[in-house]
């Protein structure tokens, strides 16, 4: 464990949506941290609260939703206490976000170069200086013919080029934290790999911390040193990627790992997790995973499981380990 204070510290983050159907808890008491220059991953099914967590950090949760509890501190600054103007400065200077579908997140009628330049604080820069930084950023993301890319409209670029441009727009400001929300989901497999290795490369090159959000554990494993697994708005397991990978403790994580295709291993039958995410407006009692859990016990229905430390830095929110690990909280 590092001695230095973490770059981003999220504690008991709770975000709820106040809809006509009732209150939906999209994120419940999420706690995690990111150290300077570290890449962490958040995995979970669609609807498990990953993206809302990311938007909560940026304070951009869409309308009926609100961050109702917890603390988010970035380098000691409490983001939830900032004014809208101060928060804007934080976004501009420190946090960049990369979104899932680059074709939607680029303004269709602005040239790519102009859009990347938008993120640069141009108050004290000449046009040429901005243009140069844009080209450098495009070169850093290994886009073929950066000059042409800068001069193109988004629809003139391929999906991979678009996502590279979006990453260029993020890195041009040299943020201390990049949040990448499913950055490779919309791309095909070979491009996925390129984008992931690009993210890894940039992390070391400009020492940016990365939060990588994905539903794909394999994607996380290739970039991140630590991983957080979310299920139904809650954190169910967290720890160093290798430990979680080798020794998944929570039955949900086991299920997630079981459903990954391994080309080297011929499986008779791909294991599929039964059931689907519970209704977050009325989550199940006790452990939220118990209706789908193959190892559910009586206690799982009755009481919410504690966070159990199974090994160094590796915790699981599950009754299976409550007896043998040290129970925290």
């Amino acid at each position: 464990m590092t001695e230095a204070p973490p770059l981003l510290d999220v504690e008991d983050l709770t975000t709820r949506f106040y809809t006509g159907r009732g209150v939906i808890g999209a994120v419940e008491k999420l706690t995690f941290h990111v150290n300077e220059g570290e890449a962490i991953g958040i995995v979970g099914e669609s609807g498990s609260g990953k993206s809302v967590s990311a938007l909560s950090i940026l304070r951009l949760v869409p309308m009926p939703g609100r961050v109702v509890g917890g603390r988010i501190t970035l380098r000691g600054i409490d983001l939830l206490a900032l004014s809208e103007r101060e928060m804007r400065e934080m976004r501009r200077k420190h946090i960049a976000m990369i979104f899932q579908d680059p074709s939607n997140f680029l303004n269709p009628i602005m040239r790519v170069g102009d859009q990347i330049g938008e993120g640069i604080d141009r108050r004290e820069l000449s046009k040429q200086a901005v243009a140069r930084q844009v080209l450098e950023a495009l070169q850093a993301v290994h886009i073929a013919d950066p000059k042409r890319a800068a001069d193109s409209y988004p629809l003139q670029l391929s999906g991979g080029q678009q996502q590279r441009s979006v990453i260029a727009a993020a890195l041009v400001r040299r943020p201390s934290l990049i949040i990448a929300d499913e950055p490779t989901t919309a791309l095909d497999a070979t491009v996925q790999y390129q984008i992931l290795s690009l993210l890894g490369e940039l992390q070391t090159a400009i020492n940016t911390a990365i939060i990588l959000i994905s539903h794909d554990l394999a994607v996380i494993a290739s970039v991140c040193s630590r991983v957080y697994v979310m299920y139904a708005a809650q954190l169910v397991e967290s720890g160093p990627t290798a430990a979680v990978y080798r020794n998944p403790c929570h039955p949900y994580t086991q299920g997630l790992l079981g459903s990954i295709l391994d080309p080297l291993e011929r499986k008779e039958k791909l294991s599929v997790m039964a059931g689907s995410l519970p209704d977050l407006a009325a989550p199940p009692s006790g452990c939220r995973f118990h209706p789908r859990c193959p190892q559910a016990m009586a206690v799982c229905v009755a009481r919410e499981p504690p966070n159990v430390q199974v090994s160094d830095g590796h915790t699981a929110k599950c009754w299976l380990y409550a007896a043998r690990g040290d129970v925290s909280s």
Binding site: F105, P108, R132, E136, Q156
Partner: protein, 304 residues
């Protein structure tokens, strides 16, 4: 600022910067090329330019003005009076040339006014929503339900027929349409992911409204505005035709009004101003069509 990129990349990038045609010049050239590809739009442009030339040439050709009696009453077109004369002996060509001035002025100034009002109101209402939207839209509706032509008549009758007054009235009558159109665009565009992306990099609201969203909403506005130019020209002509136009300014409507009684005796006194109205409004409509095609990036071809 640039410590992270590889040195050779930096050098290459610097060399490229010089070659880049970065600013708006390139964009204007592109749009112009696409506009020219549309033959009808070019025809429209020729018609509009012809109208502008007529307006510019008016004082040079007829320094004494359009109201001067220069020949006999209702003379047919001849070598001296190319388009004939009207019932008072005024040259029809002079009237058409000076009328072009009035029409252009009324058309563009009133639309400029309705655009300015409509864009501000529509953008704020659509972007912010909530009570701002409610307040602005109720106001807009008040302006929309008023019967335009009669209101214009009423205002002109009450405050006198002054060309600036007419421009103002037409502007006031038209902005609501622009505002509603733009509000609808903003309502959908503000939910688009690229707006979230802009917020995520810390863009202030003003920048999002003006730089990110407005260009995306521009096509319907440009088309509506150019149609409004045509309708403003027609409205002014109609007011003048009914005899409530500015009597000190020659306009095509005024000419038609005085010509109607002599339609059978002197076809030229009504035909030429009428033709001028037709061609100018047609020209503007064709241009608006061409602009829509040229400015809509979804129709822009891939590559070059």
């Amino acid at each position: 600022m640039t410590e992270g990129a590889k040195p050779e990349a930096v050098v290459a990038a610097r060399a490229d910067v010089a070659a880049i045609r970065w600013p708006a010049v390139r964009r204007v050239q592109d749009n112009w090329r696409r506009f020219c590809r549309n033959r009808l739009a070019l025809v429209g442009l020729v018609l509009l330019v012809a109208t502008i030339l007529m307006a510019l040439l008016a004082t040079a050709v007829f320094p004494e003005g359009p109201f001067k009696i220069t020949g006999g009453r209702l003379t047919a077109p001849n070598a001296v009076h190319w388009l004939g004369t009207d019932e008072l002996g005024r040259d029809v060509l002079a009237g058409v040339l000076y009328g072009a001035r009035t029409s252009l002025m009324v058309g563009f100034l009133s639309v400029f006014m309705s655009l300015a009002l409509g864009i501000v109101v529509g953008a704020l209402a659509g972007y912010y929503g909530g009570w701002i939207d409610d307040a602005l839209m109720r106001t807009t509706e008040i302006f929309q339900v008023m019967p335009r032509f009669f209101l214009a008549l009423l205002v002109v009758a009450m405050f006198g027929a002054d060309i600036w007054g007419i421009i103002f009235v037409i502007g006031i009558l038209n902005w609501a349409e622009i505002a509603r159109l733009l509000r609808a665009e903003y309502l959908t565009l503000r939910e688009r992911p690229f707006v979230t992306a802009a917020r995520a990099y810390g863009a202030p609201n003003f920048q999002i409204i003006v730089v990110e969203i407005l260009p995306n909403a521009s096509s319907p506005i440009i088309v509506a505005a150019s149609l409004q130019v045509a309708s403003a020209v027609l409205l002014e002509a109609s007011l003048s035709f009914l005899g409530v136009g500015d009597p000190n300014v020659m306009s095509w409507g005024t000419m038609l009004n005085s010509a109607q009684q002599f339609l059978r005796l002197a076809w030229w006194s009504a035909t030429f101003p009428g033709l001028a109205i037709c061609l100018m409004t047609l020209g503007i409509a064709l241009i608006s069509d061409g602009l829509n095609d040229a400015l809509n990036p979804r129709l822009k071809e891939m590559g070059s």
